[in-house]
C-alpha cells in the first residue's frame, strides 16, 4: 500500500501534506471503510485544535469521525470529493484531499512518517 513520503500521518489515519497543508485520509483507511458514500466537511474559516473532529466520512455501513492532525484554520474545502465521495477510493492523496489549513505546523508532535505509519498499521 502506498504512503507517500511527502505526507505525515496520524494514528487516526489522516494525512497532512508538508508542502501545502492539505489534509486527507489514508489508502489504508479507505480500504478498511469500503465504499465511501458521504463526506461532511466544515466551512472555510473555521478553526480546529489538533485531535478535534472536523467532519465525518461514511461508508455504506459506518460513520467515522475525521480528526485534525494539527491546529489550524480551514482555508479551502475540496468540493469535488463532496460531490463524488466514491472518487476517494481510486485516489486518496492527490485529488482526494479533503481540507486545506492555514497553519502548517506539520512538525507537530504525534505525526508519523509514511514508513512509521506503515509499521503502525501492520502492528494494529
Amino acid at each position: 500500500m502506498n504512503f507517500p513520503a511527502e505526507l505525515k500521518y496520524t494514528k487516526d489515519h489522516e494525512w497532512i501534506s508538508l508542502v501545502d497543508s492539505k489534509i486527507g485520509v489514508t489508502a489504508y483507511a479507505i480500504e478498511q471503510l469500503g465504499d465511501i458514500v458521504h463526506i461532511e466537511l466544515p466551512e472555510v474559516g473555521k478553526e480546529f485544535k489538533q485531535g478535534a473532529s472536523f467532519g465525518t466520512i461514511e461508508s455504506t455501513k459506518t460513520v467515522s469521525d475525521l480528526y485534525m492532525p494539527v491546529n489550524g484554520k480551514i482555508v479551502a474545502v475540496n468540493q469535488a470529493v463532496l460531490k463524488s465521495p466514491e472518487s476517494l477510493q481510486a485516489d486518496p492523496y492527490k485529488n482526494g484531499w479533503l481540507i486545506q489549513v492555514a497553519s502548517s505546523s506539520a512538525d507537530t508532535p504525534g505525526l508519523m512518517t509514511g514508513k512509521d505509519y506503515a509499521t503502525f498499521i501492520a502492528e494494529h
Binding site: 465504499d35 458514500v37 458521504h38
Partner: protein, 371 residues
Amino acid sequence: MAETEARKTPLFDRHKAAGAKLIEFGGWMMPVSYAGVLAEHKAVREKCGIFDVSHMGEIRVSGPAAEKFLQYVTMNDAAKLGPGQGQYSAILNEKGGMIDDLIVYRLGAEEFFICINAANRDKDFQWIKARSDGFDARVENESDLWAQLAVQGPTSKDAVLAVVDPGDRTKVEALPYTNITRAKFAGRECLVARTGYTGEHGYEIYLPASHAVTLWDSLLATAATTGIVPVGLGARDTLRLEACYLLYGNDMNDDTTPLEAGVAWAVKLAKPEFIGKEALVQQKSAGLKQKIVAFKMKEDGIPRHGMTVFWRGEPAGFVTSGSVLPTVGGAGGMAMVASTVVENEELEVDIRGKRKLATVVKRPLYSAKTK
C-alpha cells in the same frame, strides 16, 4: 467477539480465499463484502449474486398435530399452505411482540420446515419446543445440519437451472414464488425455495453442510453466462432495505407487534387461538400508536439506526434502518413513528445534531418488475 470465538460456516475458507472482509454477526464470522458493497448491490439488481446465509437457522416440525401446533405458535395461517408452499410469518409473545420473523414451508401433510434468523436460533427453538407440550408434534432444531445459499437477481434462474440435476430441472424451472421443492444438486438432495431478501427473483437453497463448497463453486462457475458474483452482508442489507424487508433487531424486536411493523398482511386474526392474538386484537381495536414508514432523504446526509425523527416540528420516532439507497438513488430507510404521520409529508431526521429533510414515501422503496 474475537474471530476464534465466533462460529464459521462451511464456506469460511472460500470467503477468506476470495479476500472478503469478515465481520462477526449474530455469533458467526460472515463476509461483509468481497468486491465492495455498491458493486455487489448492483450485480444483484442487474445480474446475479450468491450469498452464504448458512448462519440462518432451520427448525422442522412434524407429526399428526404439526399443522395444529403451528397454527397456535405462529401468526400466519399455516393451514392454508399446501405441500410445497411457504409463507412469511412470525412467532409472537403473549403481548403480541415479535420473538422472530420467519418463513414456514409445508413439505408434506404432517411436515413443516421453518427458516429463522441466525441470532435467534436458540431463543426460537426453545420457545417453540417449550410450547409444543400437549401437541402430537415433534420439534427439531436442524440448524447445524443445513447450509444455506441464496441466489438472487434477474439471472438467478439461469444459474440454478445450470447446476440442478437434469431430472429435477423442470420442477425447479416451474417453481412459483414462495414455494419450495426437493431437488438434487450433484446427486445430493437439497431444498430449493423461490424466496429471498433482496426484492429480486431468486432462490434460497437449503443443503447438507458438507455439500456447501461443491454447490458454491458450481454456481460461481456459471459466471460467464450469468454474471454471478459472491455478495456479502453489506449489500444484503442495502438490498433488503430498498425492498423494505424488516431486519430483526433493527426494525423490530420483542416489543414490536407485527401491526406496528407493517406486516399485518401476514397476521390472520380470523384463525383460531394463537399466541399473541389477544394482544393484537386489543391493539387493533384501540388503534396503533406507532408504525413503520419508509422515507427518502431530500437533503444531504445518511440516516442511521436510532436517529431521532421529527414530524411537524415534534419528535415523532426514530430511524430503524437507514443507508444509501444504491438503486433508488440518494439515501433513506425506515422509521418507527407516531401513527399520525402521513405519507408524502416531510419528516426531519436528526443527523448528528443537524435536522435534515426527508419525505415519507410508500413502501417499498424499490420494487422489481418481476419476482
